[in-house]
Amino acid sequence: MALRWSARGPVVDMAAESGPLLGMTDDPELYREILLDHGQHPRGDGLLDPCDLATEGSNADTGDVVRLTVRLAEGQIAEMGFTAEGSAVLRASCSLMTEALTGQSTVEAAAKADQFMALLRGESDDDNWDGLGDAVALRGIRQFPARVRCAILPWRTFARLIAQ
């Protein structure tokens, strides 16, 4: 099965039919692609200095720690940078979030973070991933309740930062 990362439609289909972690464990190719792409070469890796907003979030039970920095320009998120101590799921989620939220207004971005968290927590009725870009690849995480917290951590951290 060919993987086309940027094309939203095919990704949705594959994520739905393939195995679980990051949408795919039983499809090694897909798993590999995503983890290599975002987990090992994350977008937004490294903290921004100077930055306009900075925060930290952690999960005591998984040991995950995320540090987030944001640069703003005219009410929009111009750039995001993070460091993640934790699993490949966490790193990939950070990276996918950076991609999905950069260029958005803070209000839009916060709404997207809420949308993502509701989707992963299974609180969303319509399973609508529109506007979240490649982050849809993380939908498979829902089959691993223990890992949902890892995937959500960057988004939760971001949402809290904006709310402040």
Partner: protein, 415 residues
């Protein structure tokens, strides 16, 4: 007849043992369940499941209270369970076995009662670097309240206690030594037979955390010579929600009560209340009757097994798993004590334990990842945690192979 190791191992009929554990026949994520998280909690044999079932079907009543037949029956079963538990840990008197919720509550009980009375400002509570949080945090809380300090026996790179450092740590201010019998993260068996007399010679009270040892080999609190011994039912094939505090009877009876309420009192009046002796003294309110009875059944089940063959078999599992895991490139085992139980903690270069855990789960393999409630231990090794495979007497060599095959797969994908 003296049996050599191989013939002992061959005496262990693992297929027959597995047949006693209904859950082991399951498939998980389309694969046969490979349960290697025994240090977290053990699976339950038919004997325990059926005992709980029988209790609720035919014996359920409150204990120590009723004159009616069922209450008598439930009381008898509850107290018979105490007798089984006493034999299980070699306690000379059943009344010195207090039922608690778990090992954690047993430790907290000692801290809140004996600790509050005997530990004061400037005193020292000695623990080890490999303790479970359950045997650290209650002592830190107590130390905070009374102005004592918690001191720590260091470990070496193999994950053994540094016995050379011990004598200097047993000071005139040391009031308590609280030490695990076996480390849940490393598998290390601590030489408590050697350590306890050193502490006792200095008049130090000793609490042994037997949460892990009781799952692997018979213990005898009388010969150990400790003052307190704690363990959890759920790790020794018993139900959750039930644990045991054993203490020397005189020590227990001299301690102030833990919780107040029904069953633990002698007489109550608004002018003043008097308390009962052990065990009721520390069992306020309706206890986990079914849990205690289930734990009694678990203790009987374990005592009925061939201990020598079991030990030889688990050692075989440990040796084989260690060899197979060490053969994986980039895999590092933590905990290489000369004496250890079948628990193996490891890291796999460049791969986070939580990713390993999730991918193994996809193959039906249950292992534990993270700090295993021993954060100071992992800090000692400069780690956040590990991946831990812990084996019980019902695991098989084929399950070790499944583990290593799955780990190689993870490594190919993520390494």
């Amino acid at each position: 007849m003296i049996l050599d190791k191989d013939s002992l191992v061959s005496q262990w009929d693992v297929a027959q043992v597995r047949a006693e554990f209904p859950i082991l026949g399951q498939t998980v994520n389309g694969h046969p369940l490979v349960y290697l998280d025994n240090a977290a909690t053990s699976q339950k044999p038919r004997a325990v499941i059926e005992r709980l079932d029988r209790y609720y079907r035919t014996e359920n009543a409150n204990i120590h209270r009723g004159v009616h037949a069922l209450s008598q029956e439930a009381t008898a079963a509850y107290e018979a369970a105490r007798e089984s538990v006493a034999r299980f840990i070699g306690a000379p008197e059943a009344r010195s076995c207090i039922f608690t919720r778990n090992a954690t509550e047993a430790i907290n009980l000692v801290a809140a009662t004996w600790g509050r009375e005997h530990i004061g400002a400037g005193d020292e509570i000695l623990v080890s670097e490999m303790e479970h949080h359950a045997n650290i945090v209650p002592w830190q809380m107590l130390a905070e309240q009374v102005g004592a300090t918690v001191t720590v026996i260091p470990i070496n790179d193999r994950g053994e206690l540094d016995l050379d450092a011990l004598p200097a740590l047993l000071t005139s201010r040391t009031k308590l030594l609280a030490l695990c019998h076996v480390s849940n993260s490393l598998g290390t068996i601590n030489p408590v037979e050697q350590i306890i007399p050193l502490a006792k010679a200095k008049g130090i009270t000793v609490l042994i955390d037997g949460a892990q040892s009781t799952a692997h080999f018979p213990v005898n609190v009388a010969t150990l010579g400790c003052d307190f011994f704690v363990f959890s039912g759920h790790k020794v094939c018993g139900p959750t929600g039930i644990g045991v505090l054993w203490g020397k009877p005189d020590l227990l009876n001299a301690m102030p009560p833990y919780q107040g309420g029904g069953d633990m009192i002698d007489r109550v009046s608004f002018a003043g209340t008097t308390f009962r002796q052990i065990p009721e003294r520390f069992e306020a309110g309706t206890p986990h009757i079914a849990g205690a009875i289930g734990l009694g059944a678990a203790a009987e089940y374990l005592m009925g097994l061939d201990q020598q063959a079991l030990a030889a078999y688990e050692h075989e599992l440990l040796t084989y798993a260690t060899e197979q895991l060490q053969a994986i490139d980039g895999l590092q085992i933590y905990g290489e004590a000369a004496h250890k139980v079948s628990v193996i903690s490891f890291t796999l270069a460049g791969i986070h334990p939580n990713d390993i855990g999730t991918m193994l789960d996809v193959d039906g393999i249950a292992i534990r990842t993270g700090h295993h409630c021993t954060m100071p231990l992992w800090a000692r090794f400069g780690l956040e945690g590990s991946t831990r495979a812990s084996f019980a007497f019902y695991n098989t060599l084929a399950e070790v192979d499944a583990l290593t095959a799955s780990l190689r797969k993870v490594q190919k994908l993520l390494g």
